[in-house]
């Protein structure tokens, strides 16, 4: 016992055994900043490298110069991509898919979450858990069965969905709807029950409660879910790679890979530029709606 005390006293001679709150806080802050800076460097490295590379010519990229510096900056990669109809088509496909998927997701998730959170019906709790379990099945497990299903569907009905960009409108919601429903169930559950009862007493029916009370009050949660759905459909790679092949049906991530890599020739400058431009829309959306996103994801931890 005494030995231990002595050891501690020697180990930390400048610090009292019971540090004051402000001293503890200062240390905690130092450590958190240290790790924050570390993570920031780690995660910002790739995009910075992309930006640097996108400003270089192919010759400079393959030259053995310092890869972290641009000696002859050029915008030719940007000009070429933005004037190529193909890249703009990928962009348009991605935008169409994402916007439609977000719309479809919200149209399903909001009423579903409302029903599961508020209308206590037989099996609603099991159903809510089921929704979440659906989300746990990885897409790597599903893309082959899904491909087969669409092929069979084509054989039976003659309606061709494979190799059309709109096949993704059917597939993506299987990823977005469960998760969005789940976070919105949590958000809706944090809204006091008296609020819908008050609306009920005021003469509102369920539809009116949903549209005139719930959606406005739960807007932060809904926006968080929207951002999530958008990000997932914008960045999805495996499904479009498996389900679409024609150049005019491709979305951005797949399009960049298939059109800018010819055999073993990598057009690095344009790949980097394309990826950078492709990352812009989610980035812009995050920047504007960040506060809502955080408010939405942390809701339920404390009363919203």
């Amino acid at each position: 016992m005494t030995a231990a005390n002595v050891a501690i006293d020697h180990g930390a001679p400048t610090r009292p055994r019971y540090g004051s709150m402000s001293r503890d806080r200062r240390w905690a802050l130092r450590w958190s900043y240290f790790f924050l800076v570390l993570f920031a460097i780690f995660f910002l490295m790739p995009p910075i490298y992309m930006l640097i590379t996108s400003l270089k010519t192919s010759a400079e990229i393959s030259a053995a110069t310092n890869p972290w510096w641009v000696f002859n900056p050029t915008l030719s990669n940007y000009v070429e991509l933005l004037t190529s109809n193909q890249y703009l088509l990928f962009f348009r496909n991605s935008a169409m898919v994402s916007i439609f998927v977000v719309t479809i997701t919200m149209m399903i998730s909001i009423p579903a979450a409302f029903a599961l959170a508020r209308m206590k019906f037989w099996g609603s709790a099991t159903l809510a858990t089921g929704v979440f379990l659906t989300y746990l099945i990885p897409d790597t497990l599903l893309f082959i069965p899904l491909f087969k299903m669409f092929a069979v569907f084509d054989e039976w009905t003659g309606i061709q969905l494979l190799n059309k960009w709109y096949v993704l409108l059917i597939v993506y919601p299987t990823l977005t709807v469960p998760f969005c429903t789940w976070i919105m169930i949590g958000y809706f559950a944090s809204i006091p029950k008296e609020l819908d009862e008050a609306a009920l007493m005021d003469g509102a029916n369920y539809r009116q409660i949903l549209f005139r009370v719930f959606i406005p009050v739960a807007l932060p949660g809904i926006i968080a879910a929207t951002i999530f759905a958008f990000t997932v459909s914008w960045a999805q790679f495996l499904y479009p790679l498996a389900l679409t092949t024609s150049q005019d049906q491709l979305v951005l991530p797949v399009g960049i890979i298939t059109s800018l890599i010819k055999g073993d020739v990598f057009n690095w400058g344009q790949i980097m530029t394309g990826a950078l431009l492709g990352a812009a829309p989610p980035l812009i959306i995050y920047a504007f709606l960040m506060d809502y996103y955080i408010a939405g994801l942390t809701a339920g931890a404390t009363k919203g």
């Binding site: 006091p192 008296e194 609020l195 009862e197 008050a198 609306a199 009920l200 007493m201 005021d202 003469g203 509102a204 029916n205 009116q208 005139r212 009370v213 406005p216 009050v217 807007l219």
Partner: protein
């Protein structure tokens, strides 16, 4: 303009009986307060009247029409909740007009009603604010305003003052009474605070364990409680309960509290109490009927010596505590009566205001 009738209303939550077969008639324009400890079924009863809770058995009727299966929105009742439940995204004006807007009232009519309600509640200058910019008392007013503008058949209040601080609660209590005197709507009000119940109600319904213990005007309940529960629940500080037994004393009866203290039962009660000689009984008396000995108006009073243990001066009166046969008893004496700790004081019990409770049934005899 509505009477509300409850006939053998029962509510089960799974296996648990929350409300068991209660009967209640609420007259038009009456202010009825349901009061009782938490878990007594008062809120459940209110919510069944509102239609927010399904009824397991029995029936609820408004103006003679059974409303068991009528959804809340069609019952034409307005409710004020404990946590106000204001729509956070709407202004005060929008909050108050929401119900009318849903029913597609003309704009001019809505405006007239909202302005009128705002005038009654003195919240005219708050109409453009959002709920989060209001204090607790203001939110409570808005919640009431939302009920008033609807001009409903029935007002329902679910512990509306519980979230307010003590001072504001008293203020809002008066406010609610004033509003009811102005708008005269049938009102059902739930509270666990017996003072609120006493001050607001035309009739108080005391509930306990899902049953109605007693219904009556506040003063009637206070002076003639039907059961030990009501006697103990209504009134603050609470009534003293002292174990006792009845003894024959010549023509009359004595109620014996301890070896040394026994009171002669007032002659008009002797007949009523006689069958209970020898049974387990409790003597009930309110603190204000145990005062310093002096000629205090009542002809039936008995005096005894009490060793004062605690003295609590309240300003307009002083509470004294002493023990009768191991039971702590509270008396209420004049501040100038000279009550001192560890001193003996002559206490007078007003026997016209005594109660005798049968321990086996809990009923006041």
């Amino acid at each position: 303009m509505a009477q509300v009738t409850l006939r053998k209303v029962v509510k089960y939550y799974d296996e648990v009986e929350a409300v068991s077969a209660i009967d209640l008639d609420i007259a038009d324009k009456e202010f009825v307060v349901l009061v009782g400890p938490s878990g007594c079924g008062k809120s459940t009863t209110l919510r069944m009247i509102a239609g927010l809770e399904e009824i397991t058995g029995g029936e609820i009727a408004v103006d003679g029409e059974v409303v068991n299966d009528v959804p809340p929105k069609d019952r034409d009742m307005a409710m004020v909740f404990q946590n106000y439940a204001l729509y956070p995204h709407m202004t005060v004006y929008q909050n108050m007009s929401f119900g009318l807007r849903l029913k597609k009232y003309p704009k001019a009519e809505i405006d007239k009603r909202v302005q009128e309600a705002a005038r009654i509640l003195d919240i005219k200058e708050l109409l453009d604010r959002k709920p989060r910019q209001l204090s607790g008392g203001q939110r409570q007013r808005v919640a009431m305003g939302r009920a008033i503008v609807r001009n409903p058949k029935v007002f329902l209040f679910d512990e509306p003052l519980s979230n307010l601080d003590a001072k504001l609660r008293v203020q809002m209590r008066t406010e609610i009474k004033r509003v009811h005197q102005k708008v005269r709507t049938t009102t059902v009000y739930v509270t666990h605070d017996q003072v609120e119940a006493m001050t607001l109600a035309d009739r108080v319904v005391v509930m306990n364990r899902g049953r109605i213990e007693q219904i009556g005007a506040p003063n009637f309940l206070y002076h003639s409680p039907a059961t030990r529960f009501v006697a103990g629940f209504i009134g603050s500080p609470a009534m003293n309960f002292i174990p006792c037994r009845l003894e024959q004393a010549g023509e009359g009866l004595n109620v014996r509290l301890s070896d040394t203290i026994a009171f002669a039962v007032p002659t008009e009660r002797v007949q009523r109490y006689r069958p209970y000689i020898g049974k387990e009984l409790t003597f009930g008396i309110r603190p204000e009927h145990l005062t310093e000995a002096k000629t205090n108006g009542s002809k039936n009073y008995a005096t005894f010596d009490a060793a004062i243990e605690v003295v609590e001066p309240m300003g307009m009166e002083t509470m004294v505590f002493f023990t009768i046969d191991r039971t702590e008893v509270c008396g209420r004496v004049d501040p100038n009566a000279g009550a001192r700790v560890n001193a003996t004081m002559m206490i007078a019990a007003s026997l016209d205001n005594m109660h005798l409770i049968d321990n086996s049934s809990g009923r006041v005899l």
